[in-house]
């Protein structure tokens, strides 16, 4: 009886360890940890959107009949994170440095900068993490407008360039069309 109890206990522990191993997810290669941001003390704008795969899956089920192309694009996604932080005198320098650090880190980890725009005080950078020639694992968009706001976007998942451009054309969203074209040219 004691032997059986020991066997049962050790099997339970082994199963628990195995399940922890199975369920302990490693972040995807396209995921970038921007860190925590706090709202500006001066009451400026602060927006944070963090949508992960369970919610994306639910949106897919909701939209697949009415908008199959949207559902098809969403199907490959794992997560979407958006941060918009209003800049004021208190946080401008710190956030500017942080964004430059994030960009340097992306380039050191093999992300490719495919779009660079510096005009009207705006500094825009778009980075891609590609898997082979056909698929994109992650997209990062960074925008700094020193007198206004800083924007960071990270989309993680199996992103097909032709689908991004298709969505941009369907809904008349120019930035998506440009991004899709840029990724198509790159691949």
């Amino acid at each position: 009886m004691r032997t059986f109890q020991r066997f049962a206990a050790s099997s339970a522990i082994a199963l628990a360890c195995l399940s922890f191993q199975v369920f302990a997810e490693e972040p995807s290669a396209g995921f970038v940890d921007f860190g925590k941001f706090t709202p500006p003390s001066g009451g400026g704008q602060f927006v944070e959107v963090n949508v992960k795969s369970p919610l994306i899956g639910m949106v897919i089920r909701l939209t697949e009949k009415a908008e199959p192309e949207v559902a098809d694009l969403l199907r490959g996604l794992h997560s979407v994170r958006v941060n918009v932080i209003g800049l004021d005198d208190a946080n401008r320098a710190e956030l500017g440095e942080r964004l430059l650090k994030i960009r340097a880190e992306l380039e050191s980890k093999g992300w490719e900068r495919i779009v660079t725009v510096q005009e009207k005080g705006q500094d825009v950078g778009v980075y891609l993490k590609q898997r082979g020639e056909e698929a994109v694992e992650g997209v990062v968009v960074t925008v700094i407008e020193p007198n206004k706001e800083a924007v960071l976007v990270n989309v993680v998942g199996d992103i097909r360039p032709e689908k991004i451009a298709l969505l941009g054309e369907k809904f008349g969203i120019d930035p998506l069309k440009k991004l899709g074209d840029a990724t198509k040219k790159k691949s």
Binding site: Q45, V47, L55, M58, L62
Partner: protein
Amino acid sequence: MNALATHPLATYAAATHSTARRGFRWRWLVLTIGGLTTLAAVFFITLLLSFRMGGEARAVRHAVFAAAPGEWSPKIELGVGRLPAWIARTGFHLFESRLNLPPEARFGVDAFRSADVGVYQRRRSAASSSPGAMFADVDQAMDERDWEPVVAVQEGHQSVRVFVPKNVSNIRDAQACVFVLERDELVIVSARLNLEPLLELASSKLHHLPFPR
């Protein structure tokens, strides 16, 4: 035979058997009444408790009150749990033909599962935590309940946060909790919906609208 029937022991046995049968009936009667009373009591207690605010809304309220201390008083505080929602849906379907409501109302009623609403006003305020610290406290409180933030917006004196369960996946049982804090007013809304009827309604409406090109 007659002697046996009139024997004192036989008389005693007959009397005891009759008493035992009456006692048996009384016992069943007491058990039945007791059981029905208990069921009714459980039903009414469950119904009363269904009008309390749910756990997530209370957790947000507690975290916000701690991060923004002061004299908070409720203007509205109401929860409608699953049981009253089911009663309302059943009643609606029974009397649907007599109520002159638009057809869209049916979709809304079918979708509704439960909801909590709280509106609070702060009369006297003490020194508050920074918005970032308040968000962190509320996030922590909801994380302990396995909920996560999906949207956070802060502008001026207004803060908005939307939470969903970490394992959200069932469109027939979708939950969300929203809080809005503006200066000294706090609004918390937590709801559980079946999204299928709403999707059906949205699909029927969308087919009549031109898509943007």
